[in-house]
């Protein structure tokens, strides 16, 4: 019943009035229903599309500064030499076909009381409900000597696009026998298995083209996502090429010296030929400007509707939101957007938000023939998103080679389908 057309809604409403069984919807008929979506990543784009699919009477405006979106997922395959940048590049023409008005501008303020969004370009948009999907921002003050400017030579590549290209080129230019340092942050961060898939994909490239080289992971944590599967896969395919140093063993980095490509750990200094620092993260900038964050820099929401618990009529989805047991991933953002869209449609039509259902699947590619995955199905339990007990989990450690090959094919299918579901 989330596919509410205006006609069927009016039918329902007519019946309601006739029998007088339920409260009359609080919106007058014919009143406009305006939603402004801030951010055109996976969450924002899915949101805009699914709102229009469910109720074409809603006026949906999506505001996003960039004309193109590069998916973070599968960008590691670009580094591994298995994928072209163009294949992770998407635009907003598909959303236009659904009747979403796409505005290329940067939102600079959200006035929760006046229900108004303003942009750097001097435009303003009023809304009945606003959906904020800004993704992540970096904590530039967390690592000494590392800031936005330094990231041009010591890339994070944790937002895909030009950053991916910089890192890719540095890997191509590196001499055989070089060391690639990857420094993952403390959680929570976008795409928990991402740094380790990156290590795999870089090793895949190096094994083929620069086999005397090394990948050194200097970790701010003592454990990581899919750890057992990754480490077994690394050993099998790359021998000693990938070395992981946990925080407890001095892996956490404190500062970066860009000129010498050296990072300072808690005990030792490490010199790399290519250095990839992934800084600690927080909700995207506009979430902070709009006062939607808690003291940890993330956005608390009603986990059934994604409405902010700080400002009414503003919803926050994707990486920026605090979404219970769901990780910060593209699939999570896509799934949350659909739950949020159904809630917004219902609320704008004077109905109660429906019971939500969520899912997440994360594939990681260790080689072009060896894929692994983690999956979970979620439900709302006492106001918090929780994994359904007895479901989900990892690729079995003893999976056959055929299964691991199929996981790669299904990972690539996931990429095709989720991007079509989001932007198509």
């Amino acid at each position: 019943m989330t596919h509410i057309t205006r006609r069927s809604f009016l039918k329902v409403a007519g019946g309601t009035a006739a029998v007088g069984a339920i409260g009359v919807p609080h919106l007058a008929f014919g009143a406009s229903k305006k939603v402004v979506v801030v951010g055109g990543g996976i969450g924002g784009a899915t949101m805009a599309k699914y709102l229009r699919r469910a109720d074409a009477s809603i006026e949906v405006t999506l505001i996003e500064p960039n004309k193109h979106y590069y998916t973070c997922f599968m960008s590691n395959e670009v580094l591994g030499g298995e994928r072209a940048m163009d294949s992770i590049k998407f635009d907003y023409t598909g959303l236009g076909k659904h009747g979403v008005k796409v505005v290329n501008d940067t939102v600079t303020a959200i006035d929760a009381a006046a229900r108004k969004v303003t942009t750097a370009g001097g435009q303003s948009f009023s809304y009945d409900r606003c959906v904020v999907a800004p993704g992540i921002d970096f904590r530039w003050d967390a690592i000494g000597g590392y800031d936005e400017k330094v990231a041009e030579t010591i890339p994070h590549a944790w937002k895909a696009g030009p950053q991916t290209t910089i890192l890719h080129k540095q890997l191509q230019d590196m001499k055989d026998g070089g060391t690639v340092i990857i420094a993952p942050p403390v959680g929570p961060f976008r795409c928990p298995p991402g740094p380790y898939e990156r290590a795999s994909q870089i090793a895949h490239y190096l094994k083929k083209h620069k086999p005397k080289s090394k990948v050194l992971i200097l970790d701010a944590s003592d454990k990581f996502s899919k750890q057992g599967l990754f480490m077994a896969g690394w050993k099998k395919h790359y021998g000693d090429m990938i070395e992981w140093v946990s925080a407890a063993n001095g892996g956490k980095i404190e500062s970066v010296d860009a000129a010498s490509r050296t990072v300072q750990g808690t005990v030792d200094k490490f010199k790399g030929d290519v250095v990839n620092v992934i800084p600690p993260q927080k909700a995207g900038k506009i979430a902070h400007i709009a006062g939607l964050v808690n003291d940890k820099g993330w956005c608390p929401v009603n986990q059934g509707t994604f409405e902010s618990t700080i400002h009414a009529n503003i919803h926050v989805i994707g990486d920026a939101s605090i979404a219970g047991a769901m990780p910060k991933s593209g699939y999570s953002a896509n799934s949350q957007a659909k739950v949020c869209a159904a809630a917004v449609v219902a609320l704008l039509n004077g109905m109660e938000a429906p019971v939500p259902a969520y899912v997440n699947t994360c594939y990681s590619l260790i080689t072009p023939e060896h894929g692994i995955s983690v999956a979970a199905v979620y439900q709302l339990v006492d106001g918090a998103i929780a994994g359904v007990k007895g479901a989900g989990g990892l690729t079995p450690a003893d999976a056959s080679e055929e299964t691991l090959r199929r996981e790669v094919a299904y990972a690539h299918s996931w990429f095709k389908n989720i991007t079509a579901d989001t932007f198509g």
């Binding site: 899912v359 699947t361 199905v377 007895g390 690729t395």
Partner: protein, 198 residues
């Protein structure tokens, strides 16, 4: 006219009330089905290359498949882990949703020669159950336009015994592999035939 509108409203509301009672505790069919789209495509029609389309398949087949994933009877990479996340009632709701969706076919790299050889095989061994060249939703899903890698995986699983075939199918497949020259090529020919259909 007004009377009719009111009556229609009352009927819809009646339906809702009933549905509402049944759904009071859980998510709606579309809410549940939306969780499948990331891998299987919007409304269950896949963009490939491997994950199967589930749009338009028979509700009974959807339910049977999910239950077999849950129990481990049918082998899978990830669906055994995901199927366990849905209750029997939720699976029924999803089955109803996908049965109503249109199976949208995409262009696949099917070889014309293999496909036409496959058509001959299909007509001889498969058409009786998988009617209209496998376009009909039947007890085994929709074959025409299904993703070719998925069809290969399924044939592999059937022929190596990790997935059990219905009796009739087994006798036909055995017959095909025995009678046709180069038996394993016949499977590839069928894959190209189904994959070639628009």
């Amino acid at each position: 006219m007004k009377y009719k509108t009111i009556m229609q409203g009352a009927i819809v509301l009646g339906g809702l009330a009933l549905g509402g009672a049944a759904l009071a505790a859980g998510p709606s069919a579309s809410m549940l089905a939306n969780t499948c789209a990331g891998c299987h495509g919007t409304d269950g029609s896949s963009n490939g290359p491997a994950t199967p389309s589930i749009a338009g398949i028979k509700g009974e087949y959807f339910i049977e498949t999910m239950q077999e994933y849950k129990s481990g009877k049918r082998p899978s990479t990830i669906m055994d882990r995901i199927a366990k996340g849905y209750s029997d009632d939720e699976i029924k709701l999803m089955a109803g949703f996908f049965a109503e969706q249109k199976f949208v076919r995409i262009e696949q790299n099917a070889d014309k020669k293999l496909a036409s050889a496959g058509k001959r095989l299909h007509d001889r061994y498969c058409e009786k159950c998988h009617e209209e060249g496998g376009r009909m939703a039947d007890d085994g899903g929709i074959l025409a336009g299904q993703m070719m890698p998925y069809l290969r995986y399924s044939f592999d699983d059937f022929t190596n015994g990790s997935r059990s075939m219905p009796k009739k199918m087994k006798s036909k497949v055995d017959e095909m592999l025995k009678k046709e020259k180069k038996g394993s090529d016949s499977i590839e020919q069928l894959v190209h035939y189904y994959g070639s259909q628009k």
